[in-house]
């Protein structure tokens, strides 16, 4: 079912809030993987406010949907979102990256309520998600597993091992999304290690590929709906995004893969986000 205008309006507010939160937490932390956290904001908001069946009061609820952030370096965004969802107090994030904090830049399941797996080392999330989806099927559970990959991490062989397995086992209860922001640490993905023809690669591994603008609520939502109703093959949502999305001086600039903000930058960035009108 298409999103209503009212839903989109609410999501926009939440996306704006998440961007502001990412900026604040990055400022408190002294530095974070901000570019890739900003590129997945719309995807995270849609998943956490519309699709994921979860209960912040009972984070380990057995029949909850699972979400694996394979691009674990974007933990700064997920942590802020989990806090806003009520899994823990947002104020705790003031200690992000600090001594003995539960929150480091790559989040630990055993320390962060609401997290379904510890991730950070690239190429690990999709195999774990494949295991979760197989486990759900084997136990006759209806919950879904969502996995969000970075494009750069698709250089890892283990991603394609997992893609083979997802296809072999016809895991239609697994919804895989790639954040195609086109940059990894060292530069443009096509210069560092080319991924194109990226969609064809996933197709050749047996996936049904849906290409969307990863910042467009309707497109992402429709792709997720289609993935949820797919019964023949696993679905890959190739979400074209902008690294650093929402902050003018960060957009499409690989220098903001990881960065810190001083108070002036923070103020400028927040002002830009506050005044922005998105799609």
């Amino acid at each position: 079912m298409p999103l209503s205008e009212q839903e989109i309006s609410v999501f926009r507010q939440q996306a704006k809030q998440l961007r502001l939160d990412i900026l604040d937490v990055t400022f408190w932390a002294g530095g974070a993987h901000i570019g890739g956290a900003l590129s997945i904001v719309e995807i995270l908001v849609l998943l956490y406010y519309k699709y994921l069946s979860i209960d912040p009061k009972n984070p380990e609820k057995e029949d909850r949907d699972r979400f694996i952030l394979s691009k674990g370096h974007s933990g700064v965004g997920l942590a802020a979102l989990l806090a806003r969802k009520g899994f823990f107090d947002f104020e705790l994030l003031k200690d992000f990256n600090k001594f003995n904090s539960p929150f480091g830049m790559h989040l630990d399941k055993n320390k962060v309520p609401g997290l379904d797996a510890s991730t950070g080392s690239l190429g690990h999330g999709l195999p774990i998600a494949v295991g979760l989806a197989l486990g759900a099927r084997l136990q006759g559970k209806q919950w879904k597993t969502y996995c969000l990959l970075g494009d750069g991490e698709c250089n890892e062989g283990s991603i394609w091992e997992a893609a083979m397995a997802a296809s072999h086992y016809k895991l239609t209860n697994l919804i895989t999304i790639v954040d195609r922001n086109k940059y990894s640490v060292d530069g443009n993905t096509e210069d560092v290690m080319a991924l194109e023809p990226f969609a064809d690669k996933w197709r050749s591994f047996g996936f049904i590929v849906k290409e969307v603008n990863g910042h467009n609520w309707m497109e992402v939502s429709q792709a997720i709906e289609e993935a949820l109703s797919e019964t023949k093959a696993p679905v890959l949502i190739l979400a074209h995004t902008i690294k650093g999305k929402g902050v003018d001086f960060m957009e499409d600039d690989v220098r903001w893969h990881y960065g810190g903000l001083d108070s002036d930058m923070l103020a400028k960035a927040k002002q830009y986000v506050a005044n922005s009108v998105d799609e």
Partner: protein, 336 residues
Amino acid sequence: MAEGLTWNVYDANTMTQADIYGEVLCRLGEKYDRIVGLSADLAKSTKIGKFAEKYPNRFFNAGVAEQNMFGMAAGLALSGLMPVVSTMAVFTTMRAGEQVRTDICYQNLDVKIIATHGGISFGQAGTTHQCTEDIAIMRSMANMTVIVPADGIECANAVIACIEHPGPVYIRIGRGFEPTCYEDDRYGFQIGKAVEINPGTDLTLICCGITVLQAREAARILEKTDGLSVRVINMHTLKPLDTETVVKAIDETRRIITFEDHNIYGGLGSAVSEAIAESGKACAFTRVGLPDCYSLVGYPEDLYNYYKLDADGIVEKVREVMGKDFEEDESWEDGF
């Protein structure tokens, strides 16, 4: 005889640890429906294939893709199941080492790893398929329990015990050729508790895996020919190490030699030497294993002989250590 297997392989596998492991896992599968099996195109070689035949719906072949397999195991465990994963030790600890560490140990998941072809038990295959580093690697992963059974019976005990033991467990077995050390399984196997299989007061041999039986044989020879009273300890659990038994051996025999099918760095010898050093007690100590080299190619029994890991080698090493005259020069009263 399974189709496609050579006579040699069949012969080597008739009474292996792996065979017994496969049988035990099948029986455990009836009682524990949380158990799911995984292998990476080595279901037949590792014998987890027996489980796969009995419970085809509870077994997943990952294909030749160990990194994904251990990630899948983590996911299956996170979904509430108990994965039992088997591939060769070398691919478990190095090809998929990071997945074992980060996906399984870091998250402290209930994944049981039964790795086969450990040490130089697959000597004919050459270095790519031998594994003399696994204990060192696995010992250094927090949350991991490390067990090296001495024979098939102990392997059965270890597999049964690991199912009841929360968290990740690594059980390292060989490829075959492990004659039975124990007569039956009622000798009190307990994770983390060493077994004294021969009493003695002159010297202690601390062993794991294939060297346990060889050490017992050596102790018998040494008693007969040299009049020596040699204690033999089966240190089946490398982590957590039974340090109490090590300290007792220092106090009561004052000489310790470790024997293992592993590089001398990082394995049993290292673990025992750490316990000795931390005890603050003096002791004559030597470790025997692969002397920081990659093994020659050959049948295991020839290799164990060459690297002095069989009874003859152990006898020779014991005589060497007993021949040292440090006892006359040094006071054992160290003030502790």
